[in-house]
Symmetry: C2
Subunit: 204 residues, 2 copies
Amino acid sequence: MKKKDMHAYTYAYEKIRDQILSGEIEPHIKLTEEMLAEKFGISRTPIRSAIAKLEQEGMIRNKRIFIPTANDIRHIFQVRILIEGYAANYCSKFISEDALNRLKKCVEVGFDGTLEEVMEANHEFHQIIIQETRNPLMISIIDKMQSIIYLFRKTVVGQKRPHLIDEHANIYKAIENHDDQLAQQLMVEHLEKDLEFSLSRINN
Amino acid sequence: MKKKDMHAYTYAYEKIRDQILSGEIEPHIKLTEEMLAEKFGISRTPIRSAIAKLEQEGMIRNKRIFIPTANDIRHIFQVRILIEGYAANYCSKFISEDALNRLKKCVEVGFDGTLEEVMEANHEFHQIIIQETRNPLMISIIDKMQSIIYLFRKTVVGQKRPHLIDEHANIYKAIENHDDQLAQQLMVEHLEKDLEFSLSRINN
DNA sequence: TTAAAAAATATTGTACACAATATTTTTTAA
DNA sequence: TTAAAAAATATTGTGTACAATATTTTTTAA
């Protein structure tokens, strides 16, 4: 529901984004301004802004939901591995008590939560580590890629990878022990496995 | 001059961008749509698109030219060091013959070119290294930051740093020798010095 | 005077009409 | 039939008017 103090383009942006992520808007169909304007009961102008933003962020390409190729996935992960590896290292030295607790919670939920909760906790695990860099640029770079990866996961993979939680647990331990080298190495390996898993789902 | 087959918003984007970088539009003044529309003889609609893009890219913030704080600069460099360090490493292993030659040329121009040429060559030196990763994501991340740093340089620094060319020469040599570790280390140190130099210009 | 309220002004946001392009379909000529 | 050309259609781009907000200035009451 549109909040009364919300601009139409913000509303449109969130709506389109959510509907893409939830699958309500299916891939491959062309996102025309008029069709979306009709759908949300507003004019084309705010829709244009929303689409432009989504295109900038990489979720839409050529007016269609962006479905990354194997190479796109590799490129995304190359950047992710670099930044998140660094972040894991950084965390080991500078993480706050609070963040460390939240990280621990994520691992615990990973072991005993519902599927929904586990998915959310896994996402948050990575999120916390990045946020502890307190570098807004890094955070936003990762955020944008997350959406694309999430989307890709939902549409292509739709399935959980084995050992994922154990790897999180190990990364957590390394951070807790302030072993920056190990934390970085484990994060890199973790993401490399994630990449492999993702790619294996495309090629068949 | 506006090309006839160019959309007004592309024209506006380039014009505004160029005028910001050239200093024709001064910092601190508010970039209102109407004022820019008037200036370029087009309506507000394409100006809106252009501003939105420039804001996404970080050159404009709150309708004003973005002038980064010391912390902003640190954050930008933290990402740059990470990515360009990686790129230097990567280059040492995989650079093409052609790119290596162009890199060499940049160093040479650095020693015997005019100020204008030197500036351009220095920029290109970094550009080539990033481009050799062939990762469009990395390239675009660095590109966006380049604009902001360049702008910041122009307005705040306006001055060349000593030893810069020598450092480029050393990085070049390391890449030429396929010494990936050294290339990375030298690039990191190079950028750290750049950061220090930039910061020293703010704090007085 | 000074701070809150009100009014005036400036600026941005939205809708909509029409123009310019891009895309698809149909027609035509080989 | 098939490929190029033409026409029809769909979609995006632009200008403009007006509405909604934000900002600045003026007024008012203490």
